[in-house]
Symmetry: C2
Subunit: 411 residues, 2 copies
Amino acid sequence: MKQSLLFTKTSKTVSAEETSLNAQFLIKGGFVDKLSAGVYTMLPLGFRVYKKIEQIIREEINSIGGQEVFMPSLCPNENWKKTGRYEILADDILFSAESKHVKSSVLNLSHEEVVSPLLKKFVNSYQDLPQYVYHIQNKFRGEARPKSGILRGREFMMKDLYSFHATEEDLNNYYERVKISYKNIFTKAGIGDQTYLTYASGGTFSKYSHEFQTLTGAGEDYIYICDKCRVAINREILEDQKNKCPECGNNKLREEKAVEVGNIFKLSTKFSDPFDLFYIDKDNNKKAVIMGCYGIGLQRLMGTIVEVSHDIQGIIWPESVAPYRVHLISLKQDKESDKIYNNLLDAGIEVLYDDRDISFGAKFADADLIGCPYRIIVSTKTLEQDSVEFKKRTEKSSELVKKDNILKIFK
Amino acid sequence: MKQSLLFTKTSKTVSAEETSLNAQFLIKGGFVDKLSAGVYTMLPLGFRVYKKIEQIIREEINSIGGQEVFMPSLCPNENWKKTGRYEILADDILFSAESKHVKSSVLNLSHEEVVSPLLKKFVNSYQDLPQYVYHIQNKFRGEARPKSGILRGREFMMKDLYSFHATEEDLNNYYERVKISYKNIFTKAGIGDQTYLTYASGGTFSKYSHEFQTLTGAGEDYIYICDKCRVAINREILEDQKNKCPECGNNKLREEKAVEVGNIFKLSTKFSDPFDLFYIDKDNNKKAVIMGCYGIGLQRLMGTIVEVSHDIQGIIWPESVAPYRVHLISLKQDKESDKIYNNLLDAGIEVLYDDRDISFGAKFADADLIGCPYRIIVSTKTLEQDSVEFKKRTEKSSELVKKDNILKIFK
């Protein structure tokens, strides 16, 4: 992409009400735009990052048998009343939606009330189980005072996976597979080192559920890390467990601030009961389907990556989710730079080509802000040596690389 | 995909309230599920078709310079009041959304009220124009009585592209490029032959806008076709034009029922004026940005394909949008069929493998209903001849193909 064609521009300033670092960098860099409190547009650069995160998640969930669907946002109140969640949430974060001809609807903030009656249409026998159904879809949550940038939006995309089982044992086995899959997702997205499997409350159905918490000062949660087991527990569990690690009993736990980037939860029959979602077992008995649910907010993950990976100049995108792999910079568009650009494109390498007629200094500042992993600088000086300057976003120093050897770097 | 693993099943019946053919086939085949009037879930098979349509559109719009973003559904009323559309639509098809902490919001049914103030943040000079911005995003329209299946939903995905120009001439040129791009989209989606560029009302800004209308008895519109020019005009224009083709004056026009699958519209300054979206021209004059908008509803396109391409047994998907290219059928899962399945997968061919333990007759009926372009049948009889039976969905007769030659068919 030629940067001169991009409709967005970077900006040096950002509204004083943007107190979160992720929003500051993402808005300055032209990744997102704020329409209203907690409601953001993904701009072209941000959309590219978003799509890469989406693809990482999709591949992992497909690999554990997830079948992708797309469920709607509009849902009859009635479904939410059946599960009792309407009463709890309608006067809080749940959105109602209505128009002249359509009354009594809510905007789903998760999809148990849609997926449970859906599965009822297809599940009859134990032979129809297990099933794993997910979608990547926009959610609406009327947060009181969204102030954490894209970490906590009023409208955001979420991957929500629901699993359906004949037995608790089968749910437990799948739950362990999702744990591994989630670890893979956060590792691939570049925040594996900072992310901890965290014991959280399991509600009435199992002793624990699990959150995935990523360490960052921007976090709204406190977690307590056992460095022996490389797990954490949340504050609620800390008190229950009398300050001990639930895995090894270690009581030297380290307090850290963290952001919840994913959660996995055993629902048991909480949602199958109200919708009479059952199956007939081998002995012809009617039994309630056992469910699990597993969520990851995509903008939250994107914002967390920014909180974790940046320096004072801007974002440092992990290669797997960077909007472009290479930022190619020349003082202005010239034949040699065009040629390098086209060679990179032909080799299948994603390049943002800064061909704008502005100073090198301004271009470098933008490149640091936007945060692509590799920078290639073409100047009269480098061309005299048949070379370009090559620099990683994570490093201060650059090196000269012969023009003919550029592609070798990316092999 | 092994069909035994699919959580959906085909059904022989469908609720009597589903009067549209597209909904009947799509629900029976397990492509979509109806949650409430006009609100559908895309099930795994339907989601695959949907994603292929999305990709056809994305590639075409990218090829005419479209920059992809993702704008939100929630929008402050205020934006809609500025353009006057709130007053017109708030008591009709526009949805309002609210929660305890978020009042006075609507759910966008198109995005002029979001994209115009967005562009204002980035456009200053004539050098910042033209720009082409699009997204593929869910829309909400509170239709009074949705009864056309997925042709007219209350919630659906739409590709909406907005173009921004310094001059009417530049808009006109781009408008012609979009026309070609839209033709390509409908041709690639397999309904090119049935789809007509149709003259429609241009509002106050240009004499005509254009719809793309696809001939089908399921259509809610009447169009009047000039077979000489291969264009059509809608009823409103017919009266203005005194029953003559606006291109050649031909007055032998043929009336047909049709579905509008896309529209392109010159907005002029209708939305730039209220948001003060302007640019400074070469002579330092402030001028309003000229806009165009271009929409395609994805579920509507999907439903139209079904209306156009089916027989009494079921859907006949064009290859480009079929959920799977090949439906592999064996009486039950056996080693030979598994091998053929794996060979097809290894060759990158998308296969739905009916490995269920049910009769051949039931499998054939399902295959006709689901409508993949190619069917491969493996039976004891064919295997005795080292062969499989190969049949196109569009043809009645099948042929024997040697097992070793299967892949050659798909080259």
